[in-house]
Symmetry: C2
Subunit: 358 residues, 2 copies
C-alpha cells in the first residue's frame, strides 16, 4: 500500500497528540518517523509507532517531558530527557550541541533518561544543515553478544557521522555496530528463510542460520561476526557507543538498558536513568573555509563513485546515497507500507479515535 507523505505525517502526528504530546512535540516526533520511512529505513519509521504507544501505556514514556540541561561547560552538556520520547529529546540535545558549536566551534551533548530516538541520521543531519559535521549515537536494548560471550550485553548501538558536501548530497555513515540489523532478521523470520552464518548465535553461543534463534536466548553478533574477521572491533564500537551514550550521561548501559519491547520489563536494578544518546556538532569553518571543504568533499565523492568495480553493473555506493534515492522517490510516489503495518496503525487509529489509513 502506497501512502503519501502528507497523509502519513498527519496520521502520525494525530496519534502522538492523542497520547498527550503537545502539537510541537507531535509534529517533531512525527517528522523523525516520516523521515525514516521516506529514507527507506522502514524498520525505524511508523512501523515502530505501536511500540512507542505500548511503552507509553506502561508509563515508560512521558509525553509531557521537562527536557533540560543538568550539567554543562561551554561546549559540553548532559541533558535529562525526563523519560520523554527520544524522538523529541534527541533533537533538543542536538540543538544544544549546534548552539554551542555556533558559538565555540563544537558542541557535545550526552543524554540520559530518554527512549528510542528513531534514526541516528535525522539528528546528525540537523548539524549538516548548518554547515556542521554531525554525530549521533544511541545505546539500545541488549541483543548483541560481545566476542566470546554467550550473553546479550549490548544493543545494536548505531553510530552516525554526517558530512555536508557541495553539488552532492551529504555523506552520511549511519550504521548499527552489529553484523546485521534486527530488522533484517525479522524479514527472514517473516519469509521463513535462513540467515547467513555470521549474523547470530544460539543461546550456547554457537553460530546458527535460524533467524528465530534470537527469540530463544540467542544473540546478534558484533560487526566482524567472528574474532578471525574482527568481531572484537564491532564489540569495541558497540562499547564506545554504550560508554559515550550512557556511562557518560548517567543512563543505563550494557544489560541494564531497558528493552524497547513493552512486554519485557526493565531490569529492577537500574544503574542509571532510561536509555542514553550522544550527539555532537562541529563547524566545518572551525577547520577550513566551508567552500573549500565542500569542493574537496565533491572531489572525494566523484572519485569513489567512479571507482572501477568487481561487477561493472554494480557501482560503489557512497554512504547515505541509497537513502537519498529512496527519499526522492518516496516524496513523489508515496511511502510503501506492508499490510501488517497498515493493520497495526489502523488498530491504533481505532483506539485513539483518529482517521484510519485507507
Amino acid at each position: 500500500m502506497l501512502i503519501s507523505e502528507s497523509v502519513l505525517r498527519e496520521f502520525t502526528e494525530n496519534i502522538f497528540k492523542a497520547m498527550g504530546c503537545s502539537q510541537a512535540h507531535a509534529a517533531l516526533a512525527g517528522d523523525v518517523l516520516i523521515k525514516s520511512d521516506l529514507r527507506g529505513i522502514d524498520s525505524h519509521g511508523v512501523a515502530r509507532l505501536q511500540g512507542y504507544v505500548r511503552l507509553w501505556e506502561k508509563k515508560r514514556i512521558n509525553t509531557n517531558p521537562d527536557i533540560k540541561i543538568v550539567h554543562q561547560t561551554a561546549t559540553t552538556a548532559t541533558v535529562d530527557g525526563d523519560a520523554g520520547l527520544g524522538l523529541v529529546v534527541a533533537p533538543f540535545a542536538m540543538q544544544v550541541a549546534i548552539d554551542k558549536a555556533a558559538q565555540y566551534g563544537s558542541g557535545w551533548v550526552a543524554v540520559r533518561n530518554s527512549n528510542h530516538f528513531g534514526i541516528a541520521g535525522y539528528h546528525a543531519l540537523m548539524a549538516v544543515e548548518k554547515d556542521m559535521i554531525g554525530f549521533a549515537m544511541t545505546n539500545a536494548s541488549p541483543l548483541v553478544s560481545p566476542t566470546y560471550s554467550s550473553e546479550r550485553l549490548l544493543g545494536t548501538n548505531p553510530m552516525c557521522y554526517a558530512f555536508p558536501a557541495g553539488k552532492y548530497p551529504p555523506v552520511i555513515v549511519d550504521m548499527a555496530t552489529s553484523a546485521a540489523a534486527n530488522g533484517k532478521l525479522e524479514i527472514a523470520q517473516r519469509m521463513g528463510k535462513q540467515v547467513p552464518e555470521g549474523w547470530i548465535q544460539d543461546k550456547h553461543g554457537n553460530f546458527t542460520t535460524d533467524p528465530h534463534a534470537l527469540k530463544s536466548g540467542g544473540a546478534l553478533l558484533p560487526l566482524g561476526s567472528d574474532v578471525e574477521h574482527g568481531s572484537h572491533k564491532g564489540f569495541g564500537l558497540g562499547a564506545t557507543v554504550d560508554i559515550l551514550s550512557a556511562v557518560l550521561s548517567g543512563a543505563n548501559y550494557g544489560p541494564w538498558v531497558p528493552p524497547f519491547v513493552a512486554f519485557l520489563d526493565p531490569p529492577d536494578d537500574p544503574v542509571g536513568l532510561g536509555i542514553g544518546h550522544f550527539v555532537g556538532a562541529m563547524r566545518v569553518d572551525g577547520f577550513r573555509p566551508v567552500d573549500e571543504f565542500k569542493a574537496h568533499m565533491d572531489n572525494w565523492v566523484t572519485r569513489f563513485k567512479s571507482s572501477a568495480t568487481v561487477d561493472p553493473n554494480q557501482k560503489v555506493i557512497i554512504p547515505g546515497e541509497p537513502e537519498i534515492e529512496a527519499e526522492k522517490d518516496r516524496k513523489v510516489n508515496g511511502i510503501p507500507l506492508i499490510n501488517a503495518v497498515v493493520n497495526d496503525l489502523n488498530v491504533l487509529a481505532e483506539r485513539f479515535g483518529v482517521n484510519k489509513l485507507e
Copy 2:
C-alpha cells in the same frame, strides 16, 4: 631477542637524533614507538624505524618541522605538520586539543601535512591522563577496497576511543577499519600460510586466501568482509576517518594519500598536503563528576569481564586489556624482537654510527 625498554628507547632516540631531530622530538618520537612495542603492537613500534628513515632519505620527512596552528576557533583547530614525523606532529595536535578542552570542555584538531603517527592509542591516552576522553584517527596508504570496488582507495584508517576508568586501566578501543590489519598478512606471508577468506581480494576483486595477493594488485577488505556481513559499514568507518583526517584538514585523501613505503612515490596530482590525522579530547567533568563516571566505568568493566562465555576458559576481553597485560610484562621482562627486526635496526645503527643492539 629480548631487549630492555631503556636500551631500545636510547637506541631509537639516537637514530632520530642522527636523522636531525631535536633532543625533544627524538625523545617524543622514540616514546611513541617504544610505547607501541611495550603494548605488544609490534607492527607499529621500532619495526617501522627503517620505514621512517627511508622516507627521510627521500626528503618526504622533515626532521626540523615548524608545526603550527593555521586555523582555529575556541575548540577547533587545523594544524600543519610541515611534513614532520607524525610521531611528533600528532602529540602537538593532541596537546592543542587538551588545552582547548581544559578551557572550554572539548577540543578537536584536524592535522594536514603529516606522516605516519604510530599507534592511535598513544595520542588518545594523552587525554585520558587528564581525565578526558581521547579520540585519535589517521588516514593511511591506500590498501583497502570499498565494498564493490576493485581498487585500493582507503587506508586501514584506524580509529581510537579511550576512556579513563577507576580501579581498572583505561578502556581503549584502537582498531583498523579493515577486516584484518596489514601486519597479520605479513605474518602469514612470512610463515607461508593461507589467510582466512574475508581478509583480502585479488586484483579482480575476488576473495582469495593467498596472503601475497596484496602485492599483486589485490586489496584488504573493509571490516565486515563482504556486503552480507556489513562490509559497507567498515567502508563507512574508513571513509569517516578519511574525511575527518584529510578532507577537513587539507591533507591528501583516498587514493591520493602518499604511501608509507618509500619505494612508491606519492601521486603526482596531490589534492592536499601529506597525510591527515584527527584528534580530540573531551573533559569527563564536562558531562558528570569524574568520580561518578569512573565508578560506572568500573561497573561496566566488571559486568563485561564477568560475562558468561561460550568457552568457559575464554573470558570476554575488555578493549585495551591485552595491551595493558603486554605492557606490564614487557616493562619487566623486556621487549621481544624478531631477528629480522634486530638486523634491520643494526643496519641503521651502522649507517648512523650509533651503538648496535646486542
